[in-house]
Amino acid sequence: MAGETVIETRALSKTYRDFWGRPKVRALKALDLEIKQGEIFGLLGPNGSGKTTTIKLLLGLLFPTEGQALVFGKDATDVSKNQRIGYLPEESYLYRFLNAEETLDFYGRLFDIPHDVLKERIDSLIKTVGLERARKRQLKEYSKGMTRRIGLAQALINEPELILLDEPTSGLDPIGTREMKDMIIRLREQGKTVVMCSHLLADVQDVCDRIAILHQGELKELGRVDSLLTLADVTQIRAKRLPQPCIDEIQQVIARHQGELLTVEHPTTTLEELFLSIVRDSEARPGRRVVQEASSNS
């Protein structure tokens, strides 16, 4: 990636403490990440792996126990960085007594957006997320899918350069999921940086340029999605119009029966398989960690 560095974490660690300040859980262990402008970056990991903790640390919602998180070159706890950030939380934590317009108006005012600009932006965002008919309804009457949409709209109210999405497709139907993914890709086309975390591997596979896989607070895998999923030692042949009896001896039969050979290439695994294998491996050999340089070469 040629763009400037948007997010950088240096040995970022987070230990949760109990009331008396005693360490309770080490949620994140010395995370080193660098995310460039224009990327769609996926954070993957099972429940409790430290994905959301990472996002919260990047937003300044949590303070790091050790290490540092820099966003646009500023410390993550610096409020002024929020001017350029949009955040869609895991569940849309919005004021349920406001309607869609009031919600966007409220968040827009927090950015000090001029009144007329804000009005236009509210109109266009409501249209973009498809809530025109529900714009005057209170959020407490919204379905989960609608709440996600208004949540996304509020994350985009300031036309952010960096968008952090926590489980963006959770609670959306297949059409909604498709639309969300298209939206994320459109955001990249506009030159924005997107960081998302998700359990839904197919979604991550579809949209992310690079991913990081976390497990038990440690970074287990980091790299480009296409290279991570390429299986170098396997050859795949895809064929069409093959009669059933020839399948068993497929290699010879293709030539003898003048079948049409379509492609011969290195196949890819699904992200799901990669993910599961990493988690299994990590559980079998705890403590193995990925070093950023090594993975970016792969």
């Binding site: 949590l62 303070f63 409020v79 929020n82 001017q83 569940e91 919005l94 409220f106 005012r109 950015f111």
Partner: protein, 617 residues
């Protein structure tokens, strides 16, 4: 009316002016504020460092503390009016949609039925209705303020809506200030509506008239048998009636009953005389008193600061014995032409009023008051005195002495009040004695005053609302500040504790400085558990010694708390309006400044608490 602390002049209070004495500024409110602010800041710094020290070690703790202060102060100035207003608007919508208006409905229902349960024979109606309305308003408004302020931020934390707010360029100061502002606006609107309803209720309950009971009228004849008027009584309305007196010209007066009177006019219609009574006069008042300073003479005629005690634990008033040289002497200063008022006929008078508490050592005729005498005296030449003015006073009565400017001295020679009784620098003395042997009069300094022209009762009512508003803003600020740190129930408990301590501040101070019998907190707990008398000494032993030692530490902590504890009772002006006295603007201004300072201090504390708090868990 009881006035335990008379307000000091505004500039003396704020800046200690005039600075003729060296220590004047050191006792001023501003200096005490600076000192307290400094002490609280240092304390906060030390506590903050200690917490960081436990978690991060000495060096990093120093770094963290330094950065919190430097960045915190820099960020404080990035507070944006637009963001504050956005949060305030949100708070307003939140409270309204949480159905806070139900409180208003409750208030109106209380007022609607108040007429039923306030039937006490219409005695002291002004006092009854005003104190009822103002007290109800105060409690209701404070309760709402407490609930909305203590619950809203913790609710944001609980529902995690705070995540979407603090990830915008919002400063902690915007949130704290916005919340305080929003709730204050809602509270102000509620208070204004309650005030209008309350005023309508009081004015309606006080406004009434009577008709004359015609069969009670009988002619009044003088010695020569000539009819000089009529007398009789009115009909009973609002649980009372008046004796009436009608003069030969057809006008008349319904005599003062239950603190008010009515004027009577008459006209002839078709050969019959029709009498009409005016509305009540004297129920709505805002007396503006001008106070003097008080000292006493004991029963031997010797100057003393206080009179005798009649055994009351409350030492506000002290007493003079009847039939002895004992006297209460007030000295008024700055008396001049402007101080004088005019009577109905336009003559100049010095309108003096005297509140008398009576203590009887024998019952006597309980219907009859106790006799006393009042005299004006020249402070420089005590032989120049006015003619004695004898009066009979019942307990807790307000007696009026409209001293005419042209009056007679003790030898019945005509003198001029201003020229002969008032000194060149404007001082005059009022000497009051009790005449009945073995009966006592009790006085405190504010019991005698010159009554300046009355203020507007409506304006006085508005000023009382301002005092309620001040208390409301304080509660909101305390609630919001607490809620930046702890969850809703704890924030509420803390705020309630703060208010309660504020209401019983004097007691708290007395315990802290050891003036209260029964010892400190632990000692009194020990006495309660062992059912021990408050005054008997503690048994010797290690346990009690330990208790006393811990109490010393606790008392020192309590003493430091008293410096930041607001005196809630002093903010209440209900009594002024209920007893018909004007609320001094001076006091209101001081209260407003005190309130503003608390808001500022609490805002800064809340800002740092919220800023240093991890929003997520």
């Amino acid at each position: 009316m009881v006035l335990e602390h008379q307000p000091i002049p505004f500039l003396t209070w704020l800046l200690g002016l005039p600075w003729s004495e060296n220590s004047a500024f050191l006792e001023s409110a501003l200096f005490r504020f600076i000192l307290t602010g400094f002490a609280v800041s240092v304390l906060a710094l030390v506590v903050g460092y200690l917490i960081a020290l436990v978690r991060n070690g000495p060096l990093k703790a120093g770094d963290i503390t330094y950065r919190v202060i430097v960045n915190g102060i820099a960020e404080l100035f990035r507070t944006s009016a637009r963001r504050v207003w956005a949060i305030a608007r949100l708070s307003i919508k939140e409270t309204l949609r949480r159905r806070v208006l139900v409180a208003l409905a409750i208030y109106i229902i209380i007022l609607l039925f108040a007429g039923w349960f306030l039937q006490t024979g219409y005695r002291e109606p002004g006092k009854l209705f005003f104190s009822f309305v103002l007290t109800a308003t105060t409690y209701l408004v404070l309760m709402i303020a407490l609930l909305v302020s203590a619950f809203s931020l913790p609710n944001d934390f609980k529902s995690k809506t705070i995540y979407t707010v603090v990830t915008k360029p919002v400063r902690a100061s915007d949130i704290v200030l916005g919340r305080i502002l929003g709730f204050t606006i809602v509270g102000t609107v509620l208070l204004a509506i309650m005030a209008v309803c309350g005023a309508a209720f009081v004015w309606r309950m006080l406004d009434h008239t009577h008709a004359i009971q015609l069969d009670s009228l009988e002619n009044v004849v003088d010695a020569s048998g000539k009819v000089v008027g009529k007398k009789g009584r009115t009909t009973t309305n609002m649980q009372h009636f008046h004796e009436v007196e009608i003069y030969p010209d057809g006008t008349g007066k319904a005599a003062s009953t239950n603190e008010h009177e009515h004027q009577i006019t008459s006209e002839t219609r078709g050969g019959d005389t029709v009498y009409t009574l005016s509305g009540p006069e004297g129920l709505l008042r805002a007396r503006v008193p001008y106070y003097g300073s008080l000292h006493f003479l004991d029963r031997k005629g010797v100057d003393v600061a206080k009179g005798v005690s009649v055994g009351s634990e409350w030492t506000y008033r002290s007493f003079i014995e009847g039939g002895t040289p004992a006297a209460a002497i007030w000295t008024f200063s700055n008396i001049n032409e402007q101080t004088l008022g005019t009577d109905e006929k336009g003559a100049q008078i010095l309108p003096l009023e005297l509140v008398v508490r009576v203590f009887r050592t024998f019952k006597g005729n309980i219907e009859k008051g106790i006799q006393g005498v009042a005299q004006l005296r020249n402070p420089d030449n005590k032989t120049i005195k006015s003619e004695p003015w004898t009066f009979t006073a019942k307990d807790a009565s307000i007696n009026q002495f409209p001293w005419s400017r042209k009056l007679n001295d003790a030898d019945n020679k005509p003198i001029d009040l201003l020229k002969d009784l008032v000194t060149e620098d404007g001082r005059v003395e009022v000497v009051v004695q009790c005449l009945d042997h073995a009966q006592y009069y009790g006085f405190a300094q504010p019991d005698c005053y010159i009554r300046l022209p009355d203020g507007s009762p409506l304006w006085n009512f508005v000023k009382a609302q301002v005092s309620i508003w001040i208390q409301m803003v304080l509660v909101i600020s305390i609630g919001v500040t607490c809620s930046t740190l702890v969850n809703a129930p704890v924030a509420m408990m803390f705020t309630i504790a703060f208010i309660t301590l504020g209401f019983f501040r004097q007691f708290f101070v007395d315990v802290a400085i050891g003036k209260q019998v029964g010892g400190g907190p632990l000692e009194s707990l020990y006495r309660i558990v062992t059912q021990m008398n408050q005054t008997s000494p503690l048994p010797e032993g290690f346990g009690t010694q330990l208790i006393s030692s811990i109490d010393i530490v606790l008392k020192m902590m309590m003493q430091s708390v008293t410096y930041i504890l607001p005196d809630f009772r002093s903010f209440s002006t209900v009594d002024y309006v209920a007893y018909g006295y004007n609320i001094p603007m001076n006091q209101l201004a001081q209260d407003l400044i005190v309130c503003g300072t608390y808001v500022l201090g609490l805002f800064i504390i809340g800002y740092f608490l919220l800023r240093t708090r991890e929003v997520a868990k």
